[in-house]
Subunit: 148 residues, 2 copies
Amino acid sequence: MVYTEEAFKAELNAKGWRSTRQREIILQTFQNLPEGTHLSAEELHEKLREAGHNISLSTIYRTVKLMARMGILRELELTEGHKHYEINQPAPHHHHHLVCVKTNQVIEFKNSAILGITQKVAEKYGFKVLDCQLTIIGISPEGQRSIL
Amino acid sequence: MVYTEEAFKAELNAKGWRSTRQREIILQTFQNLPEGTHLSAEELHEKLREAGHNISLSTIYRTVKLMARMGILRELELTEGHKHYEINQPAPHHHHHLVCVKTNQVIEFKNSAILGITQKVAEKYGFKVLDCQLTIIGISPEGQRSIL
DNA sequence: TTGAGTGCAAAAATTTTGCATGCTC
DNA sequence: GAGCATGCAAAATTTTTGCACTCAA
């Protein structure tokens, strides 16, 4: 899935919002990230600065929230203490997370059954689905071995 | 599932931690909440104060984090902007959440297949499971009707 | 007796907001 | 031209931490 600038603009305009340079850049940045990479607001800010784009943190916060509400980004709250965002990929690339409470490691996994469950539940309640996340919290093999 | 004071103490001691009045009270408070109720640190603080227990916010933050790491509480990050905690119920009571990005409403649902998927994934990676949460983010019927 | 746990206040970290200015529609 | 979006700084919110004191093991 590659959102073209035009499609993005059309979707924004349809809701009365506007296409801006900042929003385009942020979308492109997320689309060019290696699969599974997720960034916090601060990390995105830094990455943009490195690329020569001075976009304020306020705008970043406002934009990622907007894009999450549009279903373009997924908002992840894993173990790092702040929110992370990543591109919301459709079915074959869609993944979920396994999180260790001891080592804080995060493993991604895919499972095709989850989407089916999600669609059935959403249909029952009349929801339009933007994203679904199965997060498994547990203790990794390394964590189980550690003394603490 | 009702954790007795003794079982709680034993589990704490087994890891070198201690059973304290504050920890007992917090556990009891969560256990007496109606099913599906989740509280933020601040809400728990207020609830404890109402019940005549003056436990500092610091202790509350430290305790809920500890209990989440023990698997006694689940840490939820739904839409409210801060973490919420609830008792981690075993299978028949275990539930998941459907969240609307427009109205912020949260619906709980149960699904027995999720635990099976979780166990299979955890086994593959050698994880000991503490909790699993399928969170569906979408737009509720009311949200779809709203103009904004 | 030892050191883990608590409370308090201060600090840190993260996110939101008011307002003047800029830019899209 | 109207009003949504941005940037900046300030504020608000949420969470963590240092330290002296308390209490469980």
